[in-house]
């Protein structure tokens, strides 16, 4: 059995792989390609059908120093492994890898795979499968993973051809990170892992259609006519606005977007997924738009006469009522995915390219263009001042917004933050600043509760030394509560901030608004769990509960400064609602700003109910 090798930096591209020609098992080939891809951390849970590959990881690590080994992080459940891989990928831009067994191991991984697909996150999942001869017989721990995962992932391989192990592995990484990124699943029968053969050290699957499309988009060029058409729209407008999404972060286009916005002095709103692609503390930043976007951001969308969508997709949390979205604006759309152009809204100008390439070419093509939007910028700066985010500052109950605003002063927009899903997620998006891309990680499209804790662990492992905070809710954190122990087991110094409102706050908010306060299934006041005792049992050295406003700042300072895993629970007002709110299926003109944010519509009635709708 040959010793698997770590790739060396001196290796030239045309050099033969040092292990080429060696005989090894399928499992060894899998691990060797992982090493060649630079994978330093694997998240996963072992089991019968994946044993050979786990054994290959063990043998790979045997005799290696800690810094050279492929670290194996074992979660409480496979879903945790998936979100750790996702947090690793989102925070670093590198492909996250997780490794699970067949049957229940693989079905537990469906949720993170779908989540990564919905948010365009590059991960590779390797699943064990029962031996080829047993497939389709309802064998022990068998599930039809190829079929289950197919519509949930960017691509799925069922590795039945033992001569294609290396090629499939390499192609999986290529597919995950190329074009619009996404999750790739490789289902590997146990007997294929045990197969012995010659390692080639090179080769990819041909994928003729996909490769050509990726290549074409990668080579896309803005013609002179297209560039002129864009700048005609821009210079004819008086109130342009950039609407930037996750595609800017995925395309590493934050700096290009910033140059573009500064060059022409165009204000920027971002989607939930786009947060951090443009420094939220910049004067031109109007923060997040949409259902719970800042009032000033949504007003700017109402007021703008030219909206430039970059790596964003007009989804229903942004354009809840398509007909009324940006009603006065001409639209331009730059996206890497041709199928997003015109999917929701017809646009006046479009270009298919990755955001960095598209913006760079636009900047170059617009070198001589003169435009002055200072009146408009003055207007949006006033909007920011007059309709700033605000909350109930009189209540004796601790407001989650107050906790996050205070945390923001301490963290200063430099920390990595992962969240669960619900009210705390929206408040984190509203009240925390992010000066760089990839700092904010949240389950945007799928809205998977339980995302935050494992994602924060993955992000911390990808960014040792950085401050990583999981802002979580009591409902969300319960979903993957077992990972608290994972955190202390591996001594991952994540800071877990639990905003406990004793219930599913966002659902309760909708029940207040649309279901006459009938809290069906969302009240947790009778739950017995003492989170502090629980995390102490898990080995947290910092476990503090705060119930008063006066304790918040000191507790947060100690919490952030603590050397090691830390847990801070703040009991927050269970009756609070997230505002602003654009009701589902409504236009921005129907935005409710609540009792504490100034609305510019004089006639607005504070507690007017948007009315129930089927389109949630």
């Amino acid at each position: 059995m040959p010793t698997l090798m770590k790739p060396t930096n001196t290796k030239q591209k045309n050099d033969r792989h040092p292990l080429a020609g060696a005989t090894m098992t399928g499992a060894d080939m899998i691990v060797q390609v992982l090493a060649d891809e630079g994978v330093d951390t694997l998240f996963g849970y072992s089991g019968g059908a994946i044993l050979p590959t786990y054994d290959a990881v063990f043998r790979y690590n045997e005799g290696r120093s800690v810094k050279d080994e492929m670290r194996l992080v074992v979660p409480a459940t496979e879903q945790g492994a998936g979100f750790m891989a996702a947090g690793y990928a989102r925070s670093s831009g590198r492909v996250g890898v997780f490794l699970v067994t067949s049957g229940p191991g693989a079905t537990n991984a469906v949720t993170p795979i779908r989540d990564c697909q919905a948010d365009s996150v590059p991960v590779v999942l390797i699943c064990g499968q029962v031996p080829r001869a047993a497939m389709g017989t309802d064998a022990f721990q068998e599930a039809p993973i190829f079929n289950i995962m197919s519509p949930c992932a960017k691509h799925v391989f069922l590795l039945t051809d033992e001569t294609k192990i290396e090629e499939t592995m390499r192609s999986a990484f290529d597919i995950a990170r190329s074009g619009r990124p996404g999750p790739v699943v490789i289902d590997v029968p146990k007997d294929v892992q045990n197969f012995e053969g010659i390692f080639k050290g090179e080769g990819l699957l041909p994928l003729p259609g996909y490769s050509e499309r990726v290549l074409n988009v990668g080579r896309s060029r803005l013609s002179k006519d297209e560039t002129k058409a864009f700048y005609d729209l821009l210079t004819q407008s008086k109130r342009p606005l950039i609407y930037a999404g996750g595609g800017v972060i995925n395309g590493d286009a934050g700096p290009a977007l910033t140059r573009f916005a500064k060059r022409f002095q165009i204000p920027v709103v971002t989607t939930l997924m786009g947060i951090g692609c443009f420094d939220t503390t910049d004067e031109l930043s109007l923060q997040m738009l949409g259902m719970h976007g800042a009032a000033f951001a949504n007003y700017a969308v109402e007021d703008c006469d030219f909206l430039f969508a970059v790596g964003s997709r007009f989804d229903d949390r942004v354009a809840g009522k398509v007909k009324e979205f940006a009603p006065n604006a001409k639209l331009a759309h730059l996206d890497i995915d041709a199928s997003e152009i015109g999917k929701v809204m017809n646009v006046d100008w479009s270009h298919v390219a990755d955001a960095k390439r598209g913006l760079t070419q636009l900047l170059k093509g617009g070198e001589g263009v003169k435009a002055d939007f200072s009146t408009w910028v003055k207007h949006v700066v006033e909007l920011k001042a007059n309709h700033a985010l605000n909350y109930n500052r009189e209540s004796s109950a601790v407001q989650a917004e107050h906790v996050l605003a205070t945390l923001n002063e301490i963290a200063g927009g430099e920390a990595f933050v992962a969240t669960g899903v619900g009210q705390h997620q929206m408040w984190a998006a509203q009240y925390l600043d992010f000066k760089k891309p990839r700092l904010f990680m949240t389950s945007g499209s799928m809205g998977t509760m339980g995302f935050g804790l494992p994602a924060a662990i993955g992000a911390q492992l990808a960014n040792p030394g950085a401050l990583v905070i999981d802002v979580d809710g009591d409902g969300s954190i319960r979903m993957n509560l077992g990972e608290l122990e994972t955190l202390t087991t591996y001594d991952v110094p994540v800071k877990v901030l639990l905003l406990n409102n004793m219930g599913d706050g966002m659902v309760r908010q909708w029940q207040d608004l649309f279901y006459a306060n009938r809290y069906s299934g969302t009240d947790k006041t009778l739950h017995k769990k003492d989170f502090i005792k629980a995390v102490e049992a898990d080995g947290f050295g910092f476990a503090v509960r705060v119930t008063k406003n006066s304790e918040v700042r000191k507790a947060l300072e100690d919490f952030v400064a603590f050397d090691g895993p830390a847990f801070l629970e703040v009991m927050v007002d269970p009756t609070a609602h997230v505002y602003p709110m654009v009701g589902p299926g409504l236009g921005y003109k129907d935005m409710i700003t609540g009792a504490h944010i100034a609305s510019r519509d004089a006639e607005e009635v504070d507690d007017s109910e948007p009315g129930a709708t089927e389109y949630f």
Binding site: S150, P151, K154, R180, G209, Y210, A338, K343, H351
Partner: protein, 172 residues
Amino acid sequence: MRHTISVLVENQFGVLARIAGLFSGRGFNIESLTVAETMDSKVSRLTLVTRGDDQVLDQITQQLNKLINVIRVTDFNKATHVERELALIKVRADRDNRGEVSKIIEIFRGRIIDVSPESFLIEVTGTKDKIGALLELLKPLGIQEIARTGTVAMHRGMQLLTTARDEKEKVA
């Protein structure tokens, strides 16, 4: 509206299910489906006919174009093209009606490919409408069994699927 869509795909397991899934996931029925190898045995050509909202189908076509194993997609509704399908029809043909059946088949340029004392097995190609019309005429004479291939389609003139590009792909 009725759409005829052809897709060149890598000839591998799972591709068909993934394509069908894009339609079933939206509640669209596939009326007919034909798949076979092309000149290149690594590539298959799949033709399907479905009905639905034009905009939704346009979106599905775009998404077909994103599947890793898909090489090329075309919706023939955007171009002049020819459609054909083949049907095998087993019809009652005894001493009494044999002449009548033969005449009808001749009119439709069908061929009798198997004969028994009580039946003809007929092969006929044409558009869906033509085959439908033939079936209407044969029905009173006693159709025993039919097998239809589903539609295949091709552009007229020199436009090829291998070079056909969707409008939006041109932009790319």
